[in-house]
Symmetry: C2
Subunit: 446 residues, 2 copies
Amino acid sequence: MQEFADAGSDTPLRIGVAGLGNVGATLVRILQKDGVELTRKLGRQIVVTAVAARSRSRDRGVDISGLEWFDDPVALAKSDRIDLFVELIGGEDGPAYAAVKAALEIGRPVVTANKALLAKHGVALAKVAEEAGTQLGFEAAVAGGIPVIKTLREGLGSASIERVYGIMNGTCNYILTRMGEEGISFAECLKDAQELGYAEADPTFDVEGFDTAHKLAILATLCFGYEIAPDRIHVEGITRISQADIKVAADLGYKIKLLGIAQRSDGGIEQRVHPTLVPKGSAIAGVDGVMNAVALETDHVHELLLAGPGAGGPPTASSVLSDILDIARGTKVPPLGVSSAELLPYKQAPMRAHEGGYYIRLNAKDVPGALAAIATRMAERSISIESVIQRPDLHVTDPAGEGMRTRTVVLLTQDTLEADVRESLALIADDGFIVGEPQLIRIETL
Amino acid sequence: MQEFADAGSDTPLRIGVAGLGNVGATLVRILQKDGVELTRKLGRQIVVTAVAARSRSRDRGVDISGLEWFDDPVALAKSDRIDLFVELIGGEDGPAYAAVKAALEIGRPVVTANKALLAKHGVALAKVAEEAGTQLGFEAAVAGGIPVIKTLREGLGSASIERVYGIMNGTCNYILTRMGEEGISFAECLKDAQELGYAEADPTFDVEGFDTAHKLAILATLCFGYEIAPDRIHVEGITRISQADIKVAADLGYKIKLLGIAQRSDGGIEQRVHPTLVPKGSAIAGVDGVMNAVALETDHVHELLLAGPGAGGPPTASSVLSDILDIARGTKVPPLGVSSAELLPYKQAPMRAHEGGYYIRLNAKDVPGALAAIATRMAERSISIESVIQRPDLHVTDPAGEGMRTRTVVLLTQDTLEADVRESLALIADDGFIVGEPQLIRIETL
């Protein structure tokens, strides 16, 4: 790979791009448009010479007539007529995985925006890259246009990270922002998001928090040096967030955001994705709409917040390009920050051991003693109540469809062990003073 | 410099540190503490072998007994017993400049946290570094612990920056935050900041905006490729911000922040430092206390916000270390993003040509027709008024000490040319309906 180190080289860096969706087409367009400027900045020419995609004829608003065409991305990845392979096909297995692996195995640098691939095969692919002495860039795989991977790999010196958290899914943040600003329901916001192209026809992966979990798992590995474990994260989505939750949170000085959070704890690494009450004044609370943000808490730098667009063609293509430029400059860093051989086996801290404040919304039966019974159960687990809100306007008509009159009660606890909160809620349910599932939202001190 | 490119080298990278103040001592401590961990991450040992400072005996809470001592930083910079020179002396000229220049001239990489030096000699020093084929790192010179220089040099692909703005002075942000939260005066907050060590005994450089201007000038060069021009920036400090301004701004949904802003305009580059009304909900409005933040607006990535600690030993030392690690890895980038030979001569856009919304606070004489006369003058310059506030609680008693009864009037304009605003205010003053200097604060749409 020595020739890559020579940024002043006269030979152009030949790029092969597999996958010509929004990001791929944008990348080709940028390189065609800014080629001269980049050559000036880099002292070396960067040209897309070959592409692979499903349909050759489809109009993508970019001229690919001059480029060599491959039907098979693996053949492109292996072609000796490219110097760097860009994977923008997507999917955790199949052609994306085969092509990336094939390129790395012959020592060819790879840049990908594929978070699912990284979450599932990241450690194995990093190992292949290290053994072949080549580079694997994936800045675009987490938080689209935000250079968080570069910051984690190169920007923090020897600072040790205590906690990483962020808004990493634009669909959820858009929905929660609309719900807060316009007082409309989750369902309505989701419908709008789908019409605007911010949400998939099947939104499950986004709104249930799995997309955020994938990204969090990749970040956590870069932060803490543990193996990637996307399937061992406590995940809750935003589908149960109601207008009542948004309203009460606002009155109490909070916004509700879907956060992915990973932090060191005695039990190992605490990785969780769930709706979170964040203080209105905080910087992350100001990150609205489709914007993403990642916050890093380190021993040296205290807190660092990076906010920007989490998706979209141009931002994502821009991150792909920054990886390409780093490789062209000869930058050499282990893909996962440390050598894959040194990654520690993932140790998940039990969620029951999580300690923090809780927002609890209950439909209490409209009978004497209900509130007293609830408060007593909390007291038994020595849970301190920060505030109690019971307002007529939050009243939900017959939540369980049993013709039962109820009152909505919201409790905010002080720092409490999750196990205690869950147990007391179970007992409260057994007592028969509440109707339906209690709403439990964690409060994060930022 | 080839040996630097070899991150796997067995020979340790020998660091010489000139200046053992807070940052310098912290850097030495970090390298002594985390040396092993860094060697593991980097595959190469990094050791501080020599230091230079004023007093050899002073207790800095770090053991320098094993290190070679230099009384003369220039001698240290040139010593063949170090491989990399770190300048933490400070000052735009004198020993700092001499030592950095001396090291670069013999092809020795330099890392500095010295913004004044960069603002004044940055272009010349970058030229020396380029000619000698070595590196000049200054991540810590702008916004302490925030990796904004790396992001600008390496993180944005070919994205073209349209506007950069930020909170780059912790002293001012601390004072404005306290004024907003506690309703106390500028003078009181400044006194507290001085007692807490957040402000110098002579705070002029900070509170008058000059420190922000230095940092903005460096950022603007990296953003737009013009020569650094710290002395050709429109600069206004925060000393004239009153509680009335903070209160009215809050009621209208704004916070007041001291921003440094640079943007492309027809006239060239618009560089300005001034108190600014920013929307309460915006991410930058959530950046409070001594925190700093830099926002980059690009064509590809839209907006990117980086927020974190702007000063302090550990964050600043951490940024210095990240530069050292980049050099140890062999990362090669022109210090100013592009070769110094390609920098364009700075062309300042006239402030009169600035267009935006304005907050205007006037002490109108308590006589019939005053408001009418003011409104008429505005109308003559076809300035559209967004809102008018006149409240008894804002009333200032005898502002000019002439026993004159006045009423405080606040006007918010829609987007207007600065020249028109200034001319209409001059005419309003001539009409004799106001007392004292009008307060003019620009509104930034973020």
